[in-house]
C-alpha cells in the first residue's frame, strides 16, 4: 500500500507491504542507522521518534506511520554528534551498535524531562540494552551532557 509520511523533515511517499515493519522499511530506504538487536522489542536498538516520541521501529508496522513524522538519527545529526562527543570522551561507546537507538532515547529524554535525577535517567533508559559498556559510562556521559547543556 502507499502511504505518505515525513522522514527527517522530508515528505515521502512510501510503498509498504501490509506486514512490513518500520525498521525494515527504513533500512530498505537507506536509513542504515537503524539497528536491530532482538525480535521481541526488548533491546531498544531500533528506537526512532514518531512525532517526537521514542518508539521501537521493530514493532511498529510501517503503514501505521501514515501522515506522521519519523525521525532517525540521520535527521538529528548535529545534536547526536554533540552527545556522541561527550559519550566518546568518556570512552562509553564500545561496539557502537546500540548507540543510535540509545542516543535517540537520550535526546528524547532531554526534551521530555527537566533536570532528571539519576534514578529517572536510569528508568527512562531501562529499555535500551547495551552488552558492552556496563551502562555506567553512558550514565556519566548523560550527566555531563545534561549538566553542560
Amino acid at each position: 500500500m502507499q502511504i505518505e509520511a515525513t522522514i527527517n523533515n522530508q515528505k515521502m511517499t512510501l510503498e509498504v507491504a501490509p506486514d512490513e515493519l518500520l525498521s525494515d522499511a527504513l533500512r530498505a530506504r537507506g536509513f542504515l542507522s537503524i539497528r536491530q538487536g532482538c525480535d521481541t522489542s526488548c533491546c531498544g536498538l531500533c528506537t526512532v521518534w514518531i512525532d517526537g516520541k521514542p518508539t521501537l521501529s521493530c514493532t511498529t508496522l510501517a503503514f501505521r506511520v501514515k501522515g506522521k513524522h519519523i525521525t532517525t538519527i540521520e535527521g538529528v545529526r548535529q545534536q547526536a554528534e554533540e552527545f556522541a562527543q561527550v559519550l566518546a570522551a568518556e570512552g562509553a561507546e564500545q561496539c557502537g551498535f546500540c548507540s543510535p537507538g540509545f542516543i535517540m532515547t537520550v535526546l528524547a529524554m532531554k526534551q521530555e524531562l527537566k533536570n532528571p535525577t539519576e534514578q529517572e535517567i536510569i528508568h527512562y533508559l531501562t529499555g535500551n540494552l547495551c552488552r558492552c559498556t556496563g551502562y555506567l559510562g553512558q550514565l556519566r556521559a548523560i550527566k555531563k551532557y545534561l549538566g553542560g547543556a
Binding site: G37, L87, G137
Partner: protein, 757 residues
C-alpha cells in the same frame, strides 16, 4: 609520554555512535541472495530423506543445498591457530543432526520472504535417536553423539568417541594425596557453572561475493579473519589463496565471533551460484544455533596448614561442549592454567577431568574462557577455607597469592614478571570499607547487608602459539598507515594500537591511518581473542614502529649524506649538526624519482609467556531473608593490567566485563527442556542485566609494569569478568549463611537454602 596513558576517544567513535553504515550488513553488494537455514527440530536424529522439489519450484528460490550437495571434509569452526586442538567433527551439512537447531539445509532466494516460504516447503524425514542431554552421565550414555569414522584430531586430546568424551586431561605436580594427608584443614566442594550466552548486540552475519578475478570475498562480523579464511578453505575444499576475508566494524563479539558461525553458508551459496549472498542470523538463532559458554561441574579440594598456607590444591572438572567440540579442549585447559598458579605456597597441585559431547547447542569461546568457571569454583572454595581457618578471607589471600618475581608449581618454571595483586586487595578493601562491613550488617529484621570478595588472573595472548604481525608504512606526504590483522570489536584496540605507534613515531594520532582487517592486505594476526590484542599485537606494533624509525633515520642519513649514528629524529625533523630534513620532505623523496624505496616498518611478536593481569573484586549485597532476593549494592574492582594505555577505554572494559560477570552471577542461564529445546531463546527469557540490575560499580587501577609487554602493558578484556560470581556468592553467604554452589544465584536458590537452615 604523549599518547600512552591518555584517555583519548576512539578513532571511530563518532561514526559508529551516530549510526553511519559501517557494519557488515550496511556494506552489502546490491541485491544479494538471502540465505536462510532450515534447522533440526530434534536433538539427535538421522536424516532419512529430504525432499526439496516443491521448495525449488518456488519462483525466486535460487538454490537449496542439503548434505548431499556439500563437500565432505570434516573441519572445526573454532577460531584457533593451526593445528587447532579442537576436533574436526563437522561437515557443512551432515546426515546426522546433533542438536535442536543444527543445520539441515541451506536456502538461498532473492528475498527473505521467499526463502522462508521455501523453507516451509522442504520435507524432511528423520530417524530420531535418543539424545544425550545430561552432561554428567554423557560418558555412559548408550547413544554416541559422534559415531562417524572420519573425525580428526590434530593433536592427541585423549578423545574417546564411543564414550562421548571429547578430551581428557590429567596434570599433577607433586603428590596431591600425600600433601592433603598432612594438611590441618581441608575443604571440598562441588560447583556448577552454567552455560552463558554472549548476547552481543549485533547478531552473527556475513556477506560473500566473487571479485573481478573470481576470488571469493567474504565480509564478516568476525574476530578472526585469518582463521575464517583457513576454515573456509578447508570446508569448501578450495585454496586459501582464492579467498579474501574482510572485517568491517563489529557490533560486539565477546568470543562468540571467534567461532565461524555463519560464513561458510553464505560462501557456499556464492560458490554454487556465482552470486552475492548474505546471511544474518536473527536473535533466536543467535541464542539457539551458535555457541555459549561451556557449562561445567568443578570439584575443588583445598588443604592448608595451621598457619593458613594453602599446601594442596586439586581441581576436577567436567565440561559440556554440546554437539561439537569447538574450543572444548582449550577452554578446559585454560581453567587449570589460570587457577593453579594463583596460590603458590602449594606443595602439590592437580588438575584433571574431561569434556563431553551432548546433544545441545555447542559451547565455544566466551570472555574468560574457562578461567571464569575455574575462578568461581576456586575462589568459592578459598572463601570456605578462610571460614574454616577462622581467617579473614582477604588475609588468607594476601598470605598465599603469587608475587612478582616468584614462580608457582603450575607456572611451568617461569617467573611472574609483574603483579600488584597485593595492592589491589588492600586498595579494594579500603574502597569497600571491608573492616567496617565484613562480614555483615543487619539492616532490618528481613534485610541483611554483607560483603564478599574474590581474586583472579587471566593471561595475555597464548604463550608459545599465537604470533601477530604489524606493518607501518610511511606515506608520500609524511603520514602513516598502520596495517593490522587484529579486530577491534568495540574495545578500542585500533585506537590503543595507534596510540602505541604514535608514541614510538612521535607523531600525532590523526596522522596515523589504521587499517584492519582484510586478509588480502593485513599482515597475519590470529585475531582478537585470548586477551591478546594489546599485548601481542601491541608489541608487534611497537616493533614495527621502531623498525620504521630506524629506516627513516637511515634514509635521512643517506639523503643528508651523513653517518646514520649522527642523525636524530624527533618525529618531525631529521637532524645532523646544521643539516636538517623534514619528515615530509623525506617522505616525498622516498616516492619521487628513480631508485627509491617506500619505507615500511615490520614487527612480529609472539611471546613464550602469557603475563596474567589480576583483579581483586569486592561485592556488597543486600539479601532479603523472606524472598531470597539478592540486590547488588556496590561492586569494587581493582585491576592490575600493567600499564594502562588508555584509562577511559580500560575503565569501560572493566565496567562492561563486570556487568557481564554480574549477569553470570545472578541472572543469565541457558536452559533446555527435557527434549533438548532451548527455552532461553530471546531476551524475554534470557536475562542480561539492564541498567537497573547492576547497582554501583567502582573501578580502580593498580598499575604494574610488565617487562615483556608494550610500554609495560598486559591484557584486560577477559580477566574482568571473573570475580563477580564468586564475590557475590561469598557476600550472599556472609549475609544469610546460604552457600550457593550452582550459578546463577537466583532468589529461589537462596530462599531454598534459607528454608533448609
Amino acid at each position: 609520554m604523549k599518547y600512552v596513558g591518555k584517555g583519548v576517544p576512539k578513532i571511530d567513535s563518532l561514526r559508529i555512535a551516530t549510526g553511519h553504515p559501517v557494519y557488515t550488513e550496511d556494506v552489502v553488494p546490491a541485491n544479494p541472495l538471502v540465505v536462510k537455514i532450515l534447522r533440526s527440530p530434534h536433538a539427535f536424529a538421522k536424516i532419512i530423506n529430504i525432499d526439496t522439489s516443491k521448495a525449488a519450484e518456488l519462483e525466486g528460490v535460487v538454490c537449496i543445498l542439503t548434505h548431499r550437495d556439500v563437500p565432505k571434509t570434516r573441519f572445526t569452526l573454532a577460531g584457533q591457530s593451526y593445528p587447532e586442538p579442537s576436533p574436526y567433527d563437522r561437515y557443512i551439512l551432515d546426515e546426522i543432526v546433533r542438536y535442536v537447531g543444527d543445520e539441515v539445509a541451506i536456502i538461498a532466494a532473492v528475498n527473505e520472504k521467499i526463502a522462508l516460504r521455501a523453507m516451509e516447503l522442504i520435507k524432511v524425514e528423520y530417524e530420531v535417536y535418543e539424545p544425550v542431554l545430561d552432561f554428567e552421565t554423557a560418558h555412559e550414555h548408550p547413544s554416541v553423539v559422534h559415531p562417524e569414522t572420519d573425525l580428526i584430531c590434530n593433536v592427541d586430546i585423549a578423545m574417546q568417541q564411543d564414550k562421548n568424551i571429547v578430551c581428557s586431561h590429567y596434570q599433577e605436580i607433586g603428590n596431591v594425596e600425600q600433601e592433603f594427608a598432612k594438611c590441618a584443614v581441608v575443604v571440598e566442594e562441588t560447583y556448577y557453572t552454567q552455560a552463558q550466552a554472549h548476547a552481543m548486540m549485533e547478531t552473527y552475519r556475513a556477506v560473500s561475493y566473487l571479485d573481478h578475478t573470481g576470488r571469493l570475498v567474504v565480509t564478516s562480523s568476525t574476530q578472526i579473519p585469518f582463521h575464517i579464511r583457513r576454515q573456509l578453505a578447508r570446508a569448501l575444499e578450495i585454496p586459501a589463496s582464492k579467498i579474501r576475508v574482510i572485517k568491517p566494524r563489529i557490533g560486539g563479539g565477546f568470543g562468540g565471533k571467534q567461532t565461524g558461525a555463519v560464513e561458510v553458508f553464505a560462501a557456499l551459496v556464492t560458490l554454487k551460484t556465482g552470486q552475492p549472498a548474505k546471511i544474518v542470523l536473527d536473535r533466536r538463532e543467535t541464542f539457539t544455533c551458535t555457541t555459549s559458554r561451556h557449562a561445567m561441574r568443578i570439584k575443588v579440594r583445598l588443604g592448608a596448614d595451621e598457619e593458613g598456607y594453602i599446601r594442596a590444591l586439586d581441581i576436577e572438572g567436567l565440561s559440556d561442549t554440546g554437539a561439537y567440540g569447538e574450543h572444548a579442549p582449550t577452554v578446559f585447559w585454560v581453567l587449570g592454567e589460570k587457577t593453579l598458579p594463583l596460590y603458590n605456597k602449594t606443595r602439590a597441585v592437580r588438575y584433571h577431568g574431561k569434556v563431553v559431547y551432548t546433544n545441545k547447542m555447542p559451547a565455544g569461546a566466551l570472555r574468560g574462557y574457562g578461567a571464569t568457571q575455574g575462578t568461581f569454583a576456586l575462589e568459592s572454595a578459598v572463601n570456605k577455607l578462610a571460614e574454616k581457618l577462622h581467617m579473614d578471607p582477604t588475609e588468607l589471600r594476601l598470605k598465599n597469592i603469587i608475587r612478582a618475581g616468584e614462580t608457582s608449581l603450575a607456572y611451568h618454571g617461569k617467573i611472574l614478571g609483574s603483579s600488584t595483586l597485593h595492592q589491589c586487595i588492600e586498595r579494594g578493601k579500603e574502597m569497600i570499607r571491608w573492616q567496617e562491613k565484613y562480614p555483615r550488617q543487619e539492616i532490618s529484621p528481613n534485610k541483611v547487608r554483607a560483603v564478599g570478595m574474590a581474586v583472579t588472573m587471566q593471561g595475555s595472548g597464548i604463550a608459545g602459539i599465537d604470533t601477530a604481525s604489524a606493518e607501518i608504512r610511511l606515506n608520500d606526504d609524511g603520514n602513516y598507515t598502520l596495517l593490522l590483522g587484529s579486530t577491534d570489536m568495540g574495545t578500542g584496540s585500533d585506537t590503543i594500537l595507534a596510540q602505541m605507534a604514535a608514541e614510538v613515531l612521535e607523531t600525532s594520532l590523526d596522522r596515523i591511518i589504521v587499517h584492519a582487517a582484510d586478509t588480502d592486505i593485513s599482515p597475519f594476526d590470529p585475531g582478537s581473542y585470548a586477551s591478546s590484542t594489546t599485548y601481542v599485537t601491541g608489541m608487534a606494533v611497537v616493533k614495527a614502529a621502531m623498525d620504521l624509525v630506524a629506516k627513516i633515520i637511515a634514509q635521512g642519513a643517506f639523503l643528508l649524506g651523513v653517518p646514520e649514528e649522527e642523525v636524530t629524529f624527533n618525529g618531525e625533523v631529521l637532524q645532523c649538526g646544521e643539516k636538517t630534513l623534514t619528515l615530509q620532505k623525506l617522505a616525498e623523496l622516498t616516492v619521487l624519482g628513480t631508485g627509491k624505496l617506500q619505507l615500511v616498518g615490520h614487527g612480529t611478536f609472539g611471546s613464550d609467556v602469557s603475563p596474567p593481569p589480576f583483579v581483586a573484586g569486592f561485592a556488597e549485597v543486600e539479601v532479603d531473608r523472606e524472598t531470597g532476593k539478592v540486590e547488588l549494592l556496590d561492586y569494587v574492582a581493582v585491576v592490575d593490567c600493567g600499564t594502562v594505555i588508555n584509562p577511559n577505554l580500560a575503565r569501560i572494559q572493566v565496567e562492561g566485563g563486570i556487568v557481564q560477570g554480574i549477569g553470570l552471577a545472578l541472572y543469565e542461564d541457558v536452559k533446555y527442556d527435557a527434549k533438548g529445546n532451548m527455552l532461553t531463546n530471546s531476551f524475554m527469557q534470557y536475562k542480561i542485566p539492564c541498567r537497573k540490575d547492576i547497582g554501583n560499580i567502582r573501578v580502580a587501577f593498580e598499575e604494574s609494569y610488565e617487562p615483556t609487554g608494550p610500554f609495560g602493558a598486559k591484557s584486560i578484556g577477559e580477566v574482568v569478568i571473573n570475580t563477580p560470581a564468586p564475590a557475590i556468592a561469598h557476600a550472599v553467604y556472609n549475609a544469610v549463611g546460604v552457600r550457593v554452589t550452582k550459578l546463577p544465584i537466583t532468589p529461589e536458590k537462596v530462599f531454598q537454602g534459607l528454608q533448609k537452615k
